[in-house]
């Protein structure tokens, strides 16, 4: 976690006060998600987490792709970027490196993050950039009205698979662990308290954190609705899981039957890319440094050309 550079401080103004309630993190418009959509729970948990961390709206940048879930930044009172389908992570990475004092949170759906955006996830994880990635995993393409996603169950009938999905779903938790993410968790939209805690820890974690959240699509995925999850959800915390044990983490993450686990699967303290980058050592965000070359720098460059 870090605090954005304060212009107010610089120009001697009184500091913008920290929000007094999670409600102050409500955005300009109300969500247009379907009634009952899992994404409401995620938005609420995020707003509460930001509030409980004492962050101010301008210290946060929330970057999303395209999808129902990716509409989230518009519903959050924080700086936001609603970018391209599948591309939230590179944009978030660029923004974090451009101003590493920002708390950068990426949000989106399972299609966005694990389908078209899968390669960025793998590489962002191994780079271990200090951003938090919240995936609202509803195991379906919601915005495009219901086709399989990379996490849809085998056999699932959708508009693109009327005879049933033939593809084996990916497991975002085990993949992220293997690809080097340093904080890997799973939340459940209907347990906002638990999710809030996961988000808080993820934001505080210095490095790349992925939280895959079961966030049911009540309109297009009737296989994995709240009724499906409710009896199955178990918490890793209740099982004494050790987040440094990757084997146990993978094993627990693979469970998909009567018991499905949520909680923190894996965490480690490999240094984040932004902390390793010598260019950032100076402290001032790149975006606030003076532009161009000094006369000395220029002369040195030219002398090498001769």
């Amino acid at each position: 976690m870090s605090t954005a550079e304060s212009t107010a401080e610089m120009i001697g103004l009184e500091l913008v006060r920290a929000p007094e309630s999670p409600k102050e993190f409500k955005g300009k418009v109300a969500p247009d998600w379907c009634v009952g959509c899992g994404d409401f729970g995620v938005l609420n948990a995020l707003q509460r987490a930001l509030f409980e961390l004492g962050l101010k709206p301008h210290e946060i940048l929330c970057v999303s792709g395209i999808g129902c879930s990716s509409n989230l930044p518009g519903y959050l009172n924080a700086y936001g970027m609603h970018t391209l389908h599948g591309r939230s992570l590179p944009v978030a990475t660029g923004a974090k490196l451009g101003n590493h004092k920002l708390n950068v949170i990426a949000t989106g759906g399972d299609g966005d993050g694990y389908g078209i955006g899968g390669n960025h996830l793998m590489h962002t994880a191994r780079r271990n950039i200090d951003i938090t990635y919240l995936v609202m995993n509803n195991q379906i393409y919601g915005l495009t009205t219901g086709q399989i996603s990379p996490t849809s169950r085998p056999g699932m009938k959708t508009k693109s698979t009327p005879e049933g999905n033939l593809e084996y779903p990916i497991n975002p938790i085990t993949s992220a662990i293997m690809n080097g993410a340093t904080y890997v968790a799973r939340g459940y939209s209907a347990d906002p308290k638990h999710l809030t805690e996961l988000i808080k820890k993820a934001i505080e974690h210095k490095g790349f954190s992925l939280i895959d959240v079961f966030s049911p699509c009540v309109t297009f995925n009737l296989d994995n609705d709240f009724a499906f999850f409710k009896p199955r959800i178990r918490k890793l915390e209740d099982e004494g899981h050790d987040p440094t044990d990757w084997k146990a983490a993978c094993e627990k993450a693979m469970a998909w039957g009567d018991e499905i686990y949520i909680g923190l699967f894996h965490e480690n303290d490999r240094p984040s890319l932004d902390s390793l980058e010598m260019v950032l050592d100076e402290g001032t965000p790149l975006a606030r440094r003076p532009l161009g070359l000094s006369k000395e720098q220029g002369e040195k460059l030219i002398s090498r050309m001769m």
């Binding site: 418009v29 940048l61 518009g74 591309r87 101003n99 960025h120 975006a287 002369e299 030219i302 001769m306």
Partner: protein
Amino acid sequence: MSVNGLDFSIAIGGAAGQGIATPGNILARMFGRRGLHLYAYNAYQSIIRGGHILLTLRVRDQEVLSHGDAIDLLLCLNQDTMDRHLGILGPGSRVLYNSDKVEPGEPPDGVVLCPMPVAELAGDSKNKLIQNTISLGVMMSLMGVDFSVLEEALELLFKRKGDAVVEENVTKARGGYDHAAANFEPFSVPLPEGPKPLAMWTGNSALAMGGAAAGVKFYAAYPMSPSTGVLHWMAQHAHELGIMVRQVEDEIGVALMTIGAAHTGCRAMCATSGGGFALMTEAIGAAAMMEIPAVFITVMRAGPSTGVPTKTEQGDLWQVLGASQGDFERFIVAPKNALDAYNTVAELFNLADRAQCPGIIISDLLISEGTYSVDPDVIEIQPEIDRGDLLLDPSPNGNYLRYADTESGISPRVPPGIEGFVHVVATDEHDQDGVIISDEFTHPHKRRRSVEKRARKFQGVAADCPPPTLEGPEDAEVTLVGWGSTYGVIREAIEILAEQGLVANQFAIKWIVPFHAEVVEEVLSSAKRVLIVENTHSGQFARYLRSETGFSAHGHIRKYDGEPFAPHHVVEGVLDLLKKSEAAVHVPYQEIIV
């Protein structure tokens, strides 16, 4: 060496892996130190070992506009080079070769063979590339350059490797020098000296350094020839200059990281070539819609698809014009050489910042990988920087609208991180406050206003782009139109035509968008005969020119065999087309089998 001042070309031919770069570099720096102008073109293949490479260094006592038409001194590092090039040399030229290994053919009249007994001159050296060092000695002697100049250069180059290596190289070079002095007739005029030392750079390093001077703080790339030189320069200077340089998983990521960094207020840039640019196009449209300024460089090579990665062409113009869906605002500019490329970067960043939209630079292999001399005093180390309405210290304002519909169309821009100005940018169509109208609020009148606001802001800023100008005599018989890298070769062709009594001028287009259609139409419609010179098969530029102006040229000189135009190709094209009916296409024959 020509009578009208110095005009001297050295070509070094061999296979990849024979170390052509080192003598090339030593010669280039030597010429620069001596105050001589240079342009070097390297004809090579997409291969690490083998194939055929021909590096041509052309030296003059004035700006060198192209790699030229002739070779005065050919160094053959293998038989292949001898076989390919001997036949096209002209009288007075010298051919160097290792007489132990290379069989000369029958030289054309007046071509002087200079056999080097390399085994003998190398003596006990175990260095496989010692042939290059010996050849340098021979060349210095032929050019009448004092040996101490080469000695100094070799010392500088090899000092990291220790005294023994320096000594071996100096000794063998001297062996070559003495051998030449004893056996070969030097060129009649020794290499002159210019008034002051010149620097050397490639187009890619000029683009990179131009970025640094313009204030780039974030550079991302995925390697792709012929743009990789920009990445290498940036990586090399990252820590020294405080620039974040990232190699990304693909070009999609490159473009979007660049946009992410740009949104925070950094000047951010990236470079690629055709296939990588194809992958970036979606992002460029996104930057335009979110109104984020960033600079994208694409360096053309011969296409389509993977094509000929180490060969030049101007075939990506329509790809750049058509980059991403929908109507949106972006600048597109094609510099004409390395220095112009350097200057263009800051100029483009200023325009992009002011209009809050992406800017695209189109370069090509010829510019980007060409080596140019440059007068160090003309390099503007601190170009003007204009960030437009970027507010980093805004005064508190409860009603900030990121996309305020102002009269100019420009909405003052506050980057994330500033208190009290929280906003969300979106690639969906949005209203002044950034709220998307593609959702429940879809509204044709708001949509129309947004489209018109963006168009208006661009038009306002674009009006400051300098229009093209006609170079040369106004009442010329022929007006040659080109864009980007053909500038130099056209200028030189015009000089040659003038010697032959034909008056031609040049109308070179640098700004592709905005296009200055009125100026262009006015100039061209009053020209006598307009011929378009371009490195494509389909005439992409001719068609674009017509799309903007309705003007149809009277003839076309086109080349698409991978090799660049030499001046005589253009000259012959002009003479041929003067005899032909309107709209004929002249395609020059590439003599040198590179």
